[in-house]
């Protein structure tokens, strides 16, 4: 069996675990523990190793979905997780004090990986806080010379997460063909 992987990253509480859950074939392995640091103010549990889910593609191929821990103290794992990956999904929480700072941080951290592959960005929690808007994210990316897919995403919704992944795939290969019924 041949294995491929897509990495989900982003700050604490952005919805990485939830997003992986929404498209995995079965309940993903979660390495959540009770949060003991400042994370506990955001949510009760936090990913201490990584989340893991799978999507079976066919008889012999499987796609692995890895969610990186959001806290910076686990950044040593990020390089390990991205090795051999085909692309990156960055989820940003629009309710955080400075989502642009978060975006800058993760774009820097994964800069080499992004240059070798592609990235698609999902902005979560926009129903709770609609500003900054998607256009504002694009303006920030434009100042970096980047034109990337940035979508509003509800991490619980399979359709939103699927579309984000599709954007990543088409960014990797626009020649892909998608069948329309």
């Amino acid at each position: 069996m041949t294995n491929y992987k897509i990495i989900f990253t982003g700050p604490v509480g952005a919805g990485k675990t939830t997003a992986i859950s929404s498209i995995s074939d079965r309940s993903p392995v979660s390495t959540d523990k009770l949060a003991t640091d400042m994370t506990r103010n955001i949510k009760k549990t936090t990913t201490v190793a990584c989340d893991y889910g799978t999507v079976r593609l066919n008889e012999k191929d499987r796609l692995h979905l890895y969610g990186t821990p959001g806290q910076q103290r686990f950044d040593f794992m990020w390089d390990i997780l991205t090795t051999g990956g085909i692309g990156l999904i960055l989820l940003l929480d629009n309710t955080r004090p400075d989502p642009f700072q978060d975006m800058e941080f993760f774009l820097e951290q994964f800069n080499d990986f992004i240059n070798q592959t592609q990235i698609a960005i999902g902005v979560t929690q926009m129903d709770l806080n609609s500003t900054p808007c998607i256009d504002d994210y694009h303006k920030h990316l434009h100042s970096r010379g980047m034109t990337l897919p940035v979508f509003e995403v509800d991490a619980r919704k399979q359709c939103d997460v699927s579309l984000l992944i599709k954007a990543l795939l088409f960014s990797l290969d626009p020649g892909l063909v998608e069948n329309h019924d």
Binding site: Y4, V153, F170, L176, N179
Partner: protein, 416 residues
């Protein structure tokens, strides 16, 4: 009312749902109910859409059964007939008002036998090529679905074997303005292009272009970008309920029944009928009980699609490479067929409209549809000529080594 105690009764024949709704709005608003839509046998005047399915046969039948009933013919083509009032599409309010007045005058004239001069062959009807595939292809659902009360008739000319072309809705849309709401949207997404489009043929290219300036789309774009540029809220007024544009949140305050705005997309409005006003910061922009708030981008996206009907804005160069400046927020707006592929291609390597259809092996009409929607929001730009690389390879992007895997993943995501 104009010298009549009762409204003049109008039959609308061969009309698609959108045009029918537009007429209803026009009679109710602009004409203050001086006209009312009724079924054919009760009508004083008939308006016949000559671009519809089997329109010529419908006209002949009408003349045969109602020879003394004045007819107003509406069409994209320039065909005029001797004993009918003619209005060219896109319909201007003044032209339609004038046509109705002339038809009313004919009503008041002594009855005269109208000789059957309208032996118009189908081939002479001049149905424009833009619609050709839709109206003549029996595999398509014709554009004439009626959404009317049972006692009012346009003719439902759905072919007996006609299967509504399907489109799999990709997302659940949180923003109602961006959703697929009716058959007209589905028709848009299933428009088939004509073959052998020659971008260097000015006659052919003119048929695939439209002028948004004096449509609701054009005025809305003016108001929207004014609001963003001036960082002020703006209100757009015209023969519709006011639309307030909130610049900070990029939202609109509109009446709850906002979907009727799409029905106006095919109409032209004089500048004198429309006003764009910058609001003072102190003006309260909270929605009233009869209003709702929408996001502007999905609204304009859909409005431009409805207005363009598969065409591109006038002045578009079909051969200049197009660059994607900004990805659309696809999770919250209509994903037109092949939109993601086109966006990815234009982000990776600017490509002309013609070459895009060729490289991706997709119908040109879907490239046009995507281009028009993105252009309306300034998400794309023509690449400056000096940046064009004449040494660019024929295929702008090469096949990814994992394409087979990506294809399998796409299939899995589609089936989820």
């Amino acid at each position: 009312m104009e010298g009549h105690t009762k409204p003049v009764r109008i039959a609308a024949l061969g009309m698609e749902r959108r045009t029918y709704s537009t007429l209803q709005l026009f009679f109710h608003g602009h004409c203050k109910d001086n006209y009312v839509l009724v079924e054919e046998k009760s009508a004083d005047i008939s308006i016949i859409d000559m671009d519809g399915f089997q329109a010529c046969r419908m006209l002949e039948e009408h003349k045969k059964h109602y020879p003394n009933q004045p007819a107003i013919l509406i069409s994209l083509s320039d065909k005029k007939t001797l004993d009918a009032v003619y209005v060219r599409k896109p319909i201007q309010l003044e032209a339609l008002s004038s046509a109705l007045s002339r038809a009313k005058e004919k009503l008041q004239q002594p009855m005269a036998r109208i000789t059957p001069q309208l032996q118009i062959a189908d081939s002479e009807c001049g149905i424009p090529p833009v619609l050709n595939e839709v109206v003549h292809n029996p595999q398509h659902d014709a554009t004439l679905m009626a959404a009317t009360p049972a006692n009012i008739t346009p003719v439902d000319v759905t072919p007996p074997n006609g299967k509504k072309p399907g489109f799999k809705q990709v997302n659940q849309y949180r923003y109602s303005a961006g959703s697929l709401s009716d058959d007209t949207d589905l028709e848009l997404l299933n428009i088939k292009p004509t073959t052998r489009f020659n971008p260097h043929n000015p006659i052919q290219t003119a048929q695939y272009q439209y002028q948004p300036q004096q449509t609701l789309q054009g005025y809305f774009q003016q108001a929207y970008f004014m609001a963003l540029q001036q960082q002020r809220n703006v209100v757009l007024k015209g023969p519709w309920r006011p639309i307030t544009i909130l610049h900070k949140s990029k939202q609109l305050r509109v009446e709850k029944n906002f979907r009727h705005l799409y029905a106006l997309s095919g109409m032209f409005f004089n500048k004198s009928e429309v006003s764009i006003t910058v609001l003072d910061d102190s003006v309260n922009c909270e929605p009233s009980l009869h209003e709702t708030v929408l996001f502007a981008e999905p609204f304009l996206w859909k409005l431009s699609m409805r207005t363009s009907r598969g065409r591109v804005p006038e002045g578009t160069d079909f051969t200049v490479p197009i660059k994607l400046i900004r990805w659309p927020n696809f999770t919250r707006t209509i994903v037109t067929p092949h939109a993601l592929r086109i966006a990815a291609l234009w982000a990776k390597r600017p490509t002309s409209l013609i070459d895009t259809a060729s490289y991706l092996a997709i119908p040109l009409q879907y490239v046009f549809l995507f281009y028009t929607a993105t252009a309306s929001l300034n998400f794309v730009a023509a690449e400056a000529p000096e940046k064009n690389n004449p040494a660019a390879p024929t295929l702008p992007v090469k096949r990814h080594k994992y394409r087979t895997i990506f294809q399998a993943l796409l299939e899995r995501l589609r089936n989820n």
